[in-house]
């Protein structure tokens, strides 16, 4: 077997654009699912009673259905229902957000619930409103405790963007697949893609762990 890695260098631009799309999609869906996750978790914890069963059903449903199914449904079926067609990138962003926000919400809930109820009561006894107590006392402690879980969620997000290749988002997985098919050099192309994904993912989990070790004391009470 001979390997010829010039296929990578001669298509550097093509693969590079895929890497950029992967990064942009990862960061964008990371931010949107984090924001949506906070809203969902706060609704579940402090929202009106009638809303809670709906929120729980949403979270558990997303934990039960594959992300591939969510993405394919968002891209192909949702436009039929709404009459609006979306470019693949935005369908992927929407699908990933809807899916990952449920996981983010569970992380937020676990973090908030890990703060002892006495903290909340003490804050309210000092005259704070419920919203103030959550914002000033509970959240700062909970946020630090959520960090490691958010780190692994970010790595899950990057991995899930690869599934967006199925709905023709031209990210790294899709570009690699196309190039592998055209060049008949799948070993070289996929090995390169593996290397790039590993280099993107490994520092995320390690970096978050290291950062957490430095700030963990802030979350203790």
């Amino acid at each position: 077997m001979d390997f010829d890695f010039t296929v990578i260098t001669s298509h550097a631009r093509f693969l590079g654009s895929g890497i950029v799309t992967t990064l942009v999609l990862s960061i964008a869906s990371g931010i949107t699912s984090l924001a949506a996750g906070f809203v969902v978790a706060l609704l579940r914890l402090y929202g009106p009673g009638w809303l809670r069963p709906i929120v729980v059903l949403y979270i558990d449903s997303m934990r039960a259905v594959p992300v591939l199914v969510v993405l394919v449904w968002t891209f192909f079926a949702l436009p039929i229902l709404t009459g609006l067609t979306m470019p693949p990138f935005f369908a992927a962003l929407l699908g990933l957000t809807v899916h990952l926000a449920a996981y983010a919400a569970e992380i937020v809930r676990a973090g908030v619930e890990s703060v002892r109820p006495g903290q909340m009561r003490a804050a309210m006894a000092l005259g704070m409103s419920r919203a103030q107590a959550v914002r000033r006392i509970v959240m700062p402690q909970a946020l630090v405790r959520m960090l490691p879980a958010f780190g692994s969620l970010l790595s899950v997000t990057i991995k899930d963007t690869a599934i967006a290749s199925v709905i023709a988002v031209t990210e790294l997985m899709r570009q690699s697949e196309t190039l592998a098919g055209q060049s008949f050099q799948p070993i070289e192309v996929f090995t390169f893609a593996m290397l790039v994904y590993f280099v993107m993912l490994f520092p995320v989990t390690r970096g978050v762990d290291l950062f957490y070790r430095r700030v963990a004391h802030l979350g203790r009470s």
Binding site: R63, A64, V65, W73, P186, I187, F190, Y197, F202
Partner: protein, 219 residues
């Protein structure tokens, strides 16, 4: 807009067979990945340093790669490396097993590490060999602790089997999308696919929650 849901009922046999494949694929992968995961974890913890490092490298590599890439890689590269033509099903199974074994190995390692060192020492002081002590004393305790984690890996795996649809394994996602392409009933078929996954996955997710409460380690 007009929807024709009868298309789902007309293809019930194909969908049922595909659902069966999804379930069997999940079971087969776990049946491979649990014993292999234990072996990798034990090698990582107790084997000769260079071999342990190799096991660590394997675990870290596969935990940091998107599964869909591993599936494509297995599909294109395994036949070239092994010089044999594998069926899509066998290729998909191999890719899933490689991935889940890495996750299970990490789970077992954490489980074994959570059992205090004194347990192993005590067992060996009673005259057991290291292997005996691991098998009879450490592993049974570790297993109970990591059962909820294994269950949650199981649910992830059940969902991840949908990814082998990209190499034409005739599981639920692939078959549903095939019928969609043949009948042009896009919304109906994709919704049916989502509902079948939901019906199977929802009770599993709930079961995991229950196990997490039931087997929680009291600190």
């Amino acid at each position: 807009m007009s929807f024709d849901w009868s298309v789902v009922w007309q293809h019930r046999d194909a969908l049922a067979a595909a659902t069966m494949t999804t379930i069997l694929l999940t079971i087969a992968t776990m049946a491979i990945a649990v014993p292999c995961g234990i072996v990798v974890a034990v090698v990582r913890l107790y084997a000769w340093k260079p071999v342990a490092a190799l096991a660590t490298a394997y675990v870290e590599l596969f935990r940091n790669l998107p599964l869909i890439l591993v599936v494509y890689w297995a599909f294109y590269v395994l036949p070239i490396l092994t010089d044999t033509g594998l069926s899509p099903l066998a290729t998909g199974l191999a890719a899933l097993a490689l991935n889940v074994t890495a996750y299970n190995a990490e789970t077992f390692r954490a489980g074994i590490n959570s059992i205090r060192r004194g347990q192993l020492d005590a067992a060996m002081a009673l005259g057991m060999s290291r292997v005996q002590a691991l098998r009879r004393v450490v592993l049974p305790q570790a297993l109970r602790r990591i059962l909820p984690v294994l269950a949650s890996t199981w649910v992830s795996l059940f969902k991840d089997t949908s990814l082998v649809s990209v190499i034409a394994v005739t599981e639920l996602a692939y078959v549903a999308m095939q019928i969609r392409a043949q009948t042009f009933r896009v919304l109906e078929m994709l919704t049916a696919m989502a509902v079948i996954y939901w019906l199977l996955g929802y009770p599993q997710a709930k079961l995991v929650d229950w196990m997490q409460r039931r087997f929680a380690v009291a600190e």
